[in-house]
């Protein structure tokens, strides 16, 4: 029997109680990893977004469209390398399926700005030259069982077809991103199809690349100043900030997550501390015997503290492990609109909390064990 084995034996002397406490801790750390993986998106934005890309949208609302004429003005600003635009179409492929993103984009420039998107050159050429062409991410093609060349009927509550019935697109190809799992891949179709149908020269937002990420704020201010006091004022920001603001419309997710986790861990502190104190009281004669056998005051209290830390750390390891698998699974298989991102820093925080929790709940019993007077403890029991 080694020291670790001795610790484990002592820890599981009441198997049911220890197991239930550890299950509670596992759940707490699982929740921590999952909720923090959501909160981190709202706090820092989508980390894989390029900081060399800015978005320009209406100053007052994302649903306000901007004139197409803004494009040349923006492109003329020093530091702006390339520009494209997109418009939210709100397309629905099947009744009840409202979660799919559909954008009307400029086929000539969209894939220049989004250089991480990968598309077959022949399919891109067809996309550029066919007014009814559309490209879809593979996940969407798999979801609906489409095939390249198929006609895709799409209904939009934002842009109802004046001719009645759905818009019909020709699926000419698929595209993907080198930023696996973290991109907002939408069903893309030719902007001309939209503007010809509705005869308007406006777009949802602009995306532009800049030559120097350090100048992002400066360039964003310059763009907005160009349209100041016009009827179409703009608001420019980095792409990650844009996403963060979009996501935060749901509410202060970070604060909510912090509140929930605080309540969970406060309860965990009480529960685990109760288990440790109960365990300590039951073991006072055993601790006195250990001291009698020659274990020093500090070594006995170290055992108590190590036991608490072992319980918290083992539970945390299991909780973090399950949580990581769940988050990675959600990230991999759920639509990219689900705001969840696995950040390894979350695991480091969880580990630190586990150690802190172990120290906190183990301290009082450890101090008492240190002060335990052998003769008194043996006489009292």
């Amino acid at each position: 029997m080694g020291r670790i084995q001795f610790l484990l034996r002592c820890m599981f002397r009441h198997k049911l109680r220890t197991t239930l406490t550890m299950l509670s801790l596992v759940t707490a750390f699982l929740l921590f990893v999952m909720l923090r993986s959501v909160a981190v998106v709202f706090e820092t934005g989508w980390v894989n977004f390029e900081e060399v890309r800015l978005t320009t949208q209406s100053k007052y609302s994302m649903i306000e469209l901007l004139p197409l004429s803004h494009q040349d003005t923006i492109l003329s600003i020093d530091g702006v390398v390339d520009i494209t635009h997109a418009s939210w179409f709100g397309g629905i492929f099947e009744e009840g399926e409202t979660g799919d993103a559909t954008f009307a984009v400029d086929p000539e420039s969209y894939f220049d700005v989004y250089s991480e998107y990968v598309v077959d050159p022949d399919q891109l050429d067809e996309f550029k030259t066919t007014r009814t062409a559309a490209l879809a991410p593979q996940s969407l093609i798999d979801k609906y069982g489409w095939e390249i060349g198929q006609k895709i009927p799409v209904i939009s509550p934002i842009f109802p077809n004046p001719a009645g019935g759905p818009f019909v697109f020709d699926l000419v190809g698929s595209y993907s991103s080198t930023n696996e799992g973290n991109d907002f891949l939408a069903f893309l179709f030719h902007y001309e199809y939209l503007t010809d149908t509705f005869a308007f020269g406006r777009v949802g937002w602009y995306m532009l690349t800049i030559d120097d990420p350090e100048r992002a704020d400066e360039i964003a201010r310059e763009i907005d100043s160009r349209f100041e006091n016009s009827s179409d004022e703009t608001r420019s920001m980095t792409e990650s900030e844009s996403f963060r603001q979009f996501a935060s419309q749901i509410g202060d997710i970070s604060l909510m997550v912090t509140g929930i986790l605080s309540a969970v861990f406060f309860t965990m502190i009480l529960l685990t501390a109760n288990t440790m104190v109960q365990g300590y009281r039951e073991r006072i004669p055993e601790l006195a015997v250990m001291k009698t056998l020659g274990f020093s005051n500090s070594s006995v209290s170290a055992y108590i503290l190590a036991e608490a830390m072992l319980m918290c750390s083992l539970s945390a390891a299991v909780g973090i492990g399950i949580g990581t698998l769940v988050v990675l699974g959600v990230q991999e298989y759920m639509p990219p609109m689900i705001p969840i991102y696995f950040d390894p820093v979350t695991c480091i925080w969880a580990g630190a909390i586990a150690v802190g929790l172990g120290v906190f709940v183990g301290s009082a019993p450890a101090i008492n064990a240190n002060r335990l007077v052998i003769v008194d403890a043996l006489q009292a029991h």
């Binding site: 001795f6 055993e286 250990m290 009698t292 056998l293 020659g294 020093s296 005051n297 500090s298 003769v375």
Partner: protein, 231 residues
């Protein structure tokens, strides 16, 4: 020179405003390889003497010298280490750790040594063989009788090969047959393994197994005599 020497030892406990003098200017010498039975009425100070010899408690005045070492000069940490190397304890109620098997209970003091895992296990099994429980190594205390638990406790006391065993009413919780077996075992340890044993007991029949009987009353030594019937 005596192995254990209590030199003008006094011990006073304070309970609130009340002072209780448990031992008063007590001097006692115990020779190496002796088997001493400490007897006397309840409250006479027997267990206190045992605690002082075992380094579990400190005298209010006087000194306890064991094998040339003055216990009052040792820091708590050094005293703990000294205990682990020199003293084996046997309690009335065995005080085994219920979560551990017999073998692991016996291995517990060896965690304080530099022995490797295999050596610890081997020493524990040897100690179990000495007390006649070689076939009970995997049993937990709850699966053993009182007599068997006390044998395991004795094995735990001797596994680190201390020179002194202090036993606080080791047969107090046992029936006569088991008590006799335990006393015979202690006698064997004293005679064959040359352990110096100090045993507190109320039982004159238990004291008959010792070589020397010491009587205490009101914290003072009243009689110290060799036991003629010691076998």
């Amino acid at each position: 020179m005596s192995l254990v020497s209590l030199q003008s030892v006094s011990k006073t406990y304070t309970k609130g405003r009340e002072r209780v003098d448990v031992l008063s200017d007590l001097s006692l010498d115990i020779e190496k390889n002796d088997f001493v039975a400490l007897m006397g009425p309840s409250g006479s100070g027997k267990t206190t003497v045992l605690n002082l010899i075992g380094g579990l408690d400190h005298p209010t005045s006087g000194d306890v010298v064991v094998d040339g070492a003055s216990l009052k000069s040792l820091s708590p940490g050094k005293l703990a280490r000294w205990r682990s190397q020199n003293i084996g304890f046997v309690f009335q109620f065995y005080n085994l750790l219920p979560a551990l098997t017999a073998q692991r209970n016996i291995e517990l003091p060896l965690l304080l040594t530099k022995l490797r895992g295999k050596e610890r296990k081997q020493n524990a099994l040897t100690a179990l063989d000495i007390v006649g429980l070689g076939d009970r190594s995997k049993h937990k205390p709850s699966q053993l009788s009182g007599g068997q638990q006390q044998r395991v406790a004795i094995a735990r006391a001797i596994v680190a090969d201390p020179s002194i065993l202090v036993c606080d009413e080791p047969t107090g919780d046992l029936d006569r047959a088991n008590a006799e077996e335990i006393l015979d075992l202690l006698q064997t340890l004293n005679q064959k393994h040359e352990k110096t044993i100090v045993m507190v007991t109320h039982d004159p029949k238990a004291a008959d197994h010792a070589k020397t009987t010491v009587y205490l009353d009101k914290g003072q030594l009243t009689v110290q005599e060799p036991v003629s019937s010691a076998s």
